[in-house]
Symmetry: C3
Subunit: 269 residues, 3 copies
């Protein structure tokens, strides 16, 4: 039976998230910590950025979901990431790996390879990063996506099969696959690529959706996270005059997005 | 004679702050550095985030007030915090301890215990944190407050008595005590809990008020900081459509809040 | 022949930047990473904050321009800065040094002296910092400018002559010199000093202008960066109600500023 995401299921998962306020631990890069925490709070989740050795592991034990984002991985943070990954792998806590700019940069590329062995519930990246992570390309220019999500589908399926992960590829049409089924979400707005953290915060939101609904299929939960996030971006863009006001309106929209918005706007195939 | 806070005293202390632009050194967590610096600048203080060993101490010598916030305490920052705490204890510079998420997390809980020995002028936290710091509870879920400020009053009084500190507990009604007198400020808005740094920046603002008026009783100065901050939040909420626009309007309100706002809005008991 | 900056050249350089989306690597302080990345994205450049040892050097090899900002220089970041500086000096990649708060703080003051030996294309700071860097003063209070840009002209010319750098001094009238010619830009708004990162992000924007037009004289390119940046600030101030809404409008204005704005507003002498 193939997995599908309907507007009704998306609405239901968003309601579960807001009722449960899942605790989402984010070990993420220094550029986007503030925006990520604010996106989680706006949506209705509870953020915590606990990312030092000796605390990252204990905290992961009580978290509902965990994000590990490799954007600026200091030595201390790398140790904390390894510590948290052991705990979540052991506890079965859903976690998301965001392999920012892997490929050409050696430290994070090695780290990503090690973390993959802990089998993330979801791997989220742009097309260049997913292709590089699968060992099929050289990566983009840092966080830039130089490839189309559809071009990354074989790489996404390879990773999904090898690590038992759902793989989410961001782009103008987002693509989410468990290696078998492929869901595509056609919402969003180009301004998400003109603010820093537009992709990174989605990793944390994905961890929130996974943590809020542990009994739901991970492909559906991850796709619901992308769906809510990108619909909020559409709403925000209608009220914004540029990237600055877009970021502000986007946080407002994450807090306000509701069943009617999702019913009328969602483009899933 | 019991300490009281009147609107007139609050107005006077705010005027002193804006006239003196106190230099506030914040050793704080990576999530809220930007928001904290912007809150201080908006209010009229001069922020500096000097938090590396070898500089944190020398800088503390020229600072008017210091904040030590334990949100994401890396090894290097812990060393810098210890260095700054020695200087401020020696120099008599007023400083604020914000024991973010103490209780269950071992590294910061040990650090908080050490820093307490340097006798902070003010300890600021939510109810869970104050209860945990006093050794009377297990702490909340990270930065979440799971307790009511009134429930933390015995813990606050215990800490105040033991360390000679003023203790400020954030909540829907904020509570500030020196162990004897208890001031309650009924201003604020729930959106302060839906943006990251809503509590953390108050710690820095409190240090600014202490630094701007070294001759004023610390209970009154700390309460004035909470009063101005939470009145600005009320003003901002009236202009905002959600947490994103609230944060923006809040910075505007910190810059604009004036005597008339304080006179008409303050709810102190 | 003396170097001049005309509105037409500024317009041309901005168009080159937007067409080329230069990759700007920023090794910068933790307070302003987010704002800096957003300013670069809004303007049309591609930001990357790669600042760990083992990656900072390799990344510098592919960057179009690099910023090294000394605001919160952790040990790991200092090592990464040294690594990147070797690469850019070797490759001839234009890079900007922002000597935040040099003078009284020992760690960054030593580091600044070492980095100067790698001959930055541009040194950008406020008057206090430029005077302190030239060894002619004690520095300001942290990031505060306590001196007028014109007072820093001798120090700027000394640094320019000694290191072959263009020196940009921020203030109410910005001053940019290569040691011979002096360009003055009379645009801007005081609110740029009431938001954190108002100066720091200009360092990254300067690196973007240098990287986008490697064949243009560096004095003109650096001055064009200041010109576009400060004109955007003027536009933003007209739409803002305080420092919070100014920061948002400023990002919008960086994205929107166009030839007509520059033609009608630029004040260069």
């Amino acid at each position: 039976m193939s997995i599908r995401l309907t507007p009704d299921l998306t609405i239901d998962l968003l309601a579960q998230l807001r009722a449960g306020t899942p605790l989402v631990q984010s070990l993420t890069n220094v550029v986007v910590t503030n925006f990520t925490a604010n996106a989680l709070l706006a949506l209705g989740a509870a953020p915590a950025m606990t990312d030092i050795p000796g605390e990252a592991g204990p905290f992961a034990r009580i978290a509902s979901g965990v994000l590990i984002n490799l954007g600026t991985p200091t030595a201390e943070q790398r140790e904390a990431m390894a510590e948290a990954a052991v705990v979540v792998a052991d506890a079965g806590t859903p976690w998301v790996l965001d392999p920012v700019a892997v490929g050409s940069l050696p430290v994070r590329t090695r780290l990503a390879a090690e973390l993959l062995e802990r089998r993330p519930a979801v791997i989220r990246g742009n097309a260049s990063e997913i292709i590089a992570l699968a060992g099929q390309g050289a990566g983009g220019r840092g966080v830039d996506a130089t490839d189309n999500p559809e071009d990354a589908l074989p790489a996404a399926q390879l990773l999904a099969g090898k690590y038992g992960s759902v793989v989410a590829v961001s782009g103008s049409v987002d693509l989410v696959t468990d290696g078998q089924d492929v869901l595509r979400i056609g919402n969003g707005h180009p301004w998400l690529t003109r603010i820093t953290g537009g992709g990174c915060a989605l990793g944390a939101v994905t961890a929130a959706f996974l943590g809020a609904a542990p009994d739901v299929d991970r492909l559906a939960a991850a796709a619901a996270g992308t769906a809510v996030y990108t619909v909020a971006a559409e709403i925000a863009a209608e009220q914004a005059a540029g990237p600055g006001s877009f970021a502000v309106a986007f946080l407002d929209a994450l807090a306000a997005v509701d069943a009617a918005d999702l019913t009328s706007r969602l483009v899933i195939s």
